[in-house]
Amino acid sequence: MIRPEEIKMSAEENGKWGLVIDQDICTGCQACVAACAMENNISFVGEVDAGYGRSMHWIRIERFWEGEYPEVKMTPNQPMLCQQCGHATCEPVCPAFATVHSQAEQLNLQVYNRCVGTRYCANNCPYQVRAFNWRDYQRPEPLPNQLNPDVTVRRMGVMEKCTFCIQRIHKAQDKAKAEGREVVDGEFTTACAQACPANAIVFGRVDDPESLVSQLSHRGHGVKHLEELGTLPNVTYFKGG
């Protein structure tokens, strides 16, 4: 068994990942939502369960209304996903250590086979981005042929959420390691960022000051949601307008 102290804990060495989302150019087209579902084997739940708010989207696009007709405005589309908080409120409440912080990746992990479904984490997440498997949602044959072999299929009673496509991170890290080099910025990206027709989502290493995502996230007008709660989110938003 590998002892915790043997794990390389330096964030510099293993990368710290972040997203920058430009709400001004997000058109709300849902390409990221579909791409995420396809990449991460997310179940569809059907009309009734979706109506109860049980849909399993790991990323959703929020919009609100301001004013009244004819002076009504839709607020800039806001893709909302797990913010991969540096100081996450979901983590300390899990009695099963299913949602833990990865020192190596600086991500909030969700360990499906530890999860016992207390839903404390979802209750405690201020961003409301966790999705719970209320049922064993059916994928009639031959739909399972599409399942991504790199991603676990979840069953009833398990909590899930955005992983920053950790399977892609690991694949890129494995490849870089085999070739004896560092992961290069832009070498891979998350499914949502890859699909986005407007390039409104940018993914990369925020610990690398040269990376595009670092440079964008240090632009003056970037904001982090609910930062005042001290969650240290890793997603930076540019407000529209």
């Binding site: 068994m1 150019i25 579909a34 579902a37 396809m38 009504v72 589309n77 027709p197 407007a198």
Partner: protein, 728 residues
């Protein structure tokens, strides 16, 4: 096992054990170097755990975006955009992502079937019998009695049928799609012809503009080619070398495109031409110089009054117009689907003359013709479809082949397509899914899914470079389906005579090579090769062939200012008090309803999933005593339907709107019996270019007293700042 002994150590030891065994059995020293292969050898290009990637082309709409599909052990796992393809540069829309739910859809047609029209089931037949049936249909009917109705994808099939029609005398294939109907493609091309003396598909360089003024063009949703237009919009907003561009939208209902606008002006439907000319006049006056004749007649105050906006609002837009370089005006969507749609298109295109942007960055171009294309071709307009349907009714067609389109659903019920099928002796569908038209067919000979198919698609617009996007199978066919081109080639050879002469090909791939081969001698290709095998290998590897040069041309705008344009308002059919605006669902479009993940995508503006709704202004709803989820009956002169209410804060009080995409009676378990189809309300009224006046109806609303809850994403987040959980 001690805790020092990890699983990895165990595997290492086990490996040593195996090698040791080999030595001990005395096979000699060489056996130490025996390479151990995986026990299950995959095909030559496939290893366990390793993905293989194939470039192909998306067929969810006719835009022709390039895809790269990740496959693993013979299964398609994920679609991504093809970064090489100049049209979409590695990006996709939601429908492109969900194309895998079409490939592995549980409701596909698995075998060729013979069926009774209208019945649910059919009997499976062998492909040899199927091909004999097609051959008999070709041979036993006069050439002019054979008709092909095609969708807007599968250009290689279109080329094959065009050749067949030229050489064997059968009717030329007719193409139609609901998307092109709602895009009013015929109107755009006719307006360009009237103003510039040349028919073609206009290209609007949104990315290079500084101010974009759109009249109903929903270019961030489904209009023409949404992926490159979305990229253009991003360029408008965050240009590297310029300040953030401004976007203004005139539209009675705030679409998800208009939701991104800085200014949304809900003008009265039917007054778009008037408003465009008024803005042209105001902007010309501000810019000084002689007033162009085209704008001289319009009374700006009367125009503002008719449109239901203040004159100051139009003056404000005109000031932005006059003060900026790089203004671009775009006509589209429901503004063109009215009785005066052609006049709207001309008036809005004429606005660009004030900005003098023709053929300049951020302006209006003609889209370049795709490689191997000699003239602009557009799908049939709804009026041309009327002629086709009349021929069916009159029994002029003895056999009708249908591929890639579902006209029973996509054409308004009032077109009479379904009834006209009775006038056709034999209907043969090539549908991959049991759609409404396939149910009315005598035979269904299913084509492969797009990801199992060869082919190519010409890029009509969206890319500056001329592009031919290429398709290749990324997985072997999952079911007992067969490529329609292969079926037609085999049947033509069986039919003999002129048919066999027209189709001297071994199979689909040989036909494809014959069509791609001429590109080898074309200049400016981004790759070239000396022999056809190498060229085809590159064609497959890169997912098509495109030029490195800009194929767009500048319209000849010399005469635009001196024209007289019709500024009269649109006429609306029907008695009701509400303008009726059907719009294409941005997530489902015309054929997405059978893909469960597309159903579960929230609509970008209302966040409704899995259903149809009617959007009514909250004030109007209050006056009528309607709440959310109340089912109302909507009555037009052409029909009526029942649909739940969504109180939509950004729509004119005298207008209601409905998404098109649901309301299937067949098309698989995820589509059938879900929602309603606004096309059922549309009458047969056309604009001067022959496009359907789909936004030219007035309708009545009646309460039914029923309720039907809509599933929406927003209910968990609250509306109007209502806190989480307060209402639900």
């Amino acid at each position: 096992m001690s805790d020092k002994f990890s699983r990895r150590d165990f595997l290492k030891l086990a490996g040593v054990g195996a090698a040791t065994t080999a030595i001990l059995t005395g096979c000699g020293p060489a056996s130490r170097y025996v390479k151990r292969e995986p026990y299950m050898l995959m095909p030559e290009y496939n290893y366990n755990g390793q993905s293989t990637y194939y470039a192909t082309t998306c067929r969810e709409c006719a835009a022709g975006c390039g895809l790269v599909v990740r496959t693993s052990q013979g299964r398609a796992i994920k679609t991504e955009g093809n970064a090489n393809n100049p049209l979409n540069l590695g990006k996709t829309c939601a429908r492109g992502q969900a194309t895998l739910h079409g490939l592995y859809n549980p409701d596909r047609v698995t075998d060729p079937i013979k069926r009774t029209r209208g019945a649910a089931a059919g009997t499976t037949v062998a492909w040899d019998d199927a091909i004999q049936t097609v051959a008999d249909a070709l041979k036993n009917n006069k050439p002019e009695e054979i008709a092909f109705l095609m969708g807007t994808t599968s250009d290689h099939l279109f080329d094959l049928l065009t050749d067949l029609s030229a050489q064997a005398g059968i009717n030329a294939p007719v193409r139609f799609g609901a998307l092109s109907m709602f895009e009013a493609r015929a109107t755009l091309s006719k307006a360009a012809e009237n103003l510039f003396g040349e028919a073609g598909m206009p290209f609007f360089d949104v990315g290079g503009a500084q101010v974009v003024i759109s009249f109903g063009a929903n270019f961030l949703e489904t209009w023409l080619s949404p992926v490159p237009y979305t990229r253009g919009f991003a360029g408008l907003r965050e240009g590297q070398t310029k300040k953030r561009g401004t976007f203004i939208q005139f539209e009675a209902r705030m679409s998800s495109t208009a939701a991104k606008a800085d200014e949304w002006l809900p003008i009265r439907p039917g007054t778009e031409a008037l408003v465009a000319l008024a803005i042209g006049r105001l902007a010309s006056e501000l810019r000084g110089g002689p007033l162009p004749r085209v704008f001289a007649e319009v009374d700006t105050a009367a125009a503002a009054d008719a449109a239901g906006v203040k004159l100051t609002a139009l003056e404000h837009i005109a000031e932005i117009f006059a003060a900026s370089a790089g203004v671009l005006a775009i006509p589209g969507g429901s503004a063109l689907g009215q009785s005066n749609g052609l006049a709207v298109a001309e008036a809005v295109l004429a606005l660009n003359a004030v900005a003098d942007n023709f053929g300049k960055a951020g302006g209006v171009f003609f889209s370049g013709l795709a490689p191997s294309q000699t003239e602009y071709q557009r799908p049939a307009s709804a009026m041309e479809m009327q002629d086709f349907i009349q021929n069916m009714t009159d029994g002029k067609y003895k056999v009708l082949f249908v591929h890639g389109v579902n006209p029973v659903f996509e054409l308004p019920a009032s077109s009479g397509f379904k009834a006209a099928l009775k006038g056709v002796e034999q209907v043969i569908s090539f549908a991959s899914f049991p759609d409404e038209t396939a149910l009315e067919a005598d035979f269904v000979f299913p084509d492969h899914h797009a990801l199992e198919s060869w082919g190519y698609q010409r890029v009509v617009t969206g890319s500056a470079q001329p592009v031919l996007s290429g398709s290749q199978p990324v997985v072997s066919p999952f079911y007992n389906t067969r490529a329609t081109v292969d079926v037609l080639i085999a049947a033509a050879q069986l039919a003999g005579g002129k048919f066999a002469e027209a189709m001297p090909f071994k199979d689909e791939v040989e036909f494809l090579r014959s069509k791609v081969a001429p590109l080898m001698s074309e200049a400016d290709g981004f790759f070239s090769a000396a022999d056809l095998n190498t060229f085809m290998a590159y064609f497959q590897q890169y997912g098509g062939w495109w030029k490195t040069t800009d194929g767009r041309t500048a319209p000849n705008a010399a005469d635009v200012f001196n024209r007289e344009l019709d500024a009269s308002e649109a006429e609306f059919a029907g008695e009701g008090e509400f303008f009726f605006v059907p719009f294409v669902s941005p997530t489902l479009a015309e054929a997405g309803a059978n893909k469960p993940w597309l159903q579960e995508l929230p609509d970008p503006t209302t966040t409704v999933m899995w259903n149809t709704w009617v959007e009514i202004n909250p004030e109007t709803a209050h006056e009528l005593g309607l709440e959310d989820d109340d089912v109302v009956k909507i009555i037009s002169e052409a029909g009526e339907l029942e649909v739940p209410v969504y109180r939509y804060p950004a729509i004119r009080p005298d207008t209601i709107a409905m998404p098109f995409g649901q309301g299937h009676t067949a098309y698989g378990q995820y589509a059938a019996g879900r929602g309603s189809n606004p096309a059922d309300l549309l009458g047969q009224h056309f604009n001067e270019a022959g496009d359907l006046a789909f936004a030219g109806m007035k309708v009545k609303i009646e309460k039914t007293g029923k309720k039907q809850p809509l599933s929406r994403m927003e209910s968990i987040m609250g509306v109007y700042g209502v806190g989480l959980g307060e209402e639900h």
